[in-house]
Symmetry: C2
Subunit: 209 residues, 2 copies
Amino acid sequence: MSEAKRVESRPYHHGDLRRALVDAARRLLEAEGPSALSLRAVAREAGVSPAAPYHHFKDKAELLDAVAHEGWEILGAQMSEAKSGATGPDQLTALGIAYVCFARDNPALYRVMYDAARDKEDLPGDMQDNKESAYCMVRDTMIENGADPSQDGHLELASVAAWCGAHGLAEMAGFRQFDHLKEELGGERPFLEAVLNHMGLFPKAHDGC
Amino acid sequence: MSEAKRVESRPYHHGDLRRALVDAARRLLEAEGPSALSLRAVAREAGVSPAAPYHHFKDKAELLDAVAHEGWEILGAQMSEAKSGATGPDQLTALGIAYVCFARDNPALYRVMYDAARDKEDLPGDMQDNKESAYCMVRDTMIENGADPSQDGHLELASVAAWCGAHGLAEMAGFRQFDHLKEELGGERPFLEAVLNHMGLFPKAHDGC
DNA sequence: TGTACATCAGTGAACGCGCGTTCACTGATGTAC
DNA sequence: TGTACATCAGTGAACGCGCGTTCACTGATGTAC
């Protein structure tokens, strides 16, 4: 490649290849699915040699971790936005819907997030401490709507139950077996809301504790 | 290998290599995880050449399907057994627990089952028709305990919600974040029961419909 | 009961492929003087 | 302002590997006569 050509398209030094690699990974992910996410494919997609990523990530796993991390951040942001668009107990519904919609809109990213977590047998480390995390947002919203934080076990139990329900729904919502039920209920969104409502995710007011 | 030696260890013809391959796959799966499940590795584990499986399966996917199919059968059998060990509304609890325990005891197999389903965007075809399937067992048990089959939407909604909740819990139960909660509640089993109880999985008697 | 022969169910070598990672390299950048 | 030089961030070729699949083959089995 001549110098002129190179300057035209892209300088030798990239500027922010780390960022570009994560973006490329996400593009690949949604276009081709998680199984297509090789380090070489990511480099290719970013227009860079297979060795280049090693200046920014120790190995493939570290790149995947970065992708997953970004996924959790986006999920947190979308849930935060959904929460601020509702008031009272509706906030919990909004959080649940936002969660499931994120998974539906980014199925491959969602998968990578949980694959990375499962490998470590750990959800992201800051999930139970960071106030901005998706998990804490659910718990805190429950408290704001009347759950009793002094009954710690119950509160955390309710958060876990909500989390499980939303995750389960996120993974099930794509199966064609449920198409006719969606149709019957008037579309995907009503379906999602209806299923969430059938779970203990929304203790309207303060029902059990 | 001399003829004498071969007869000693295993005849040239295997007898039931198909069966042996599925067994080998399951052994590998739980020992090394889903990523280790290559066709060659399965053949190796079964003590057979890499080409041998092609006399029993069209390709790798077909072998994986067979493994997944067996998984669904075992799950159905274990849930059936759990149900017959309980009476009344306890049967639903028993089904939920059996489901989650299956996933906990066979994490890699459970993963393969859902991976195969997701690839097709379809849960196993007979799931909604076959009376012996895990899904129908949940629905039928709900009916037996007072759900109204004429309100089809509600019933199916309740089944789906239960299914989602159990699946979500199955995937979450392994994370270390919940260790202290398990401990607090007196072990894994009480934890699983407590979370399931926080969901709508158990409409004690006939609460909502 | 013995034999010819078709069919079945294995073998083992080979194919091409994409992978993760390493290496010596080089072009670009920034800093000290 | 110009120059020497260290450092940074790329290149591209190469490594060894395990994979899925195909192929011509051969040993074992069962059946017809």
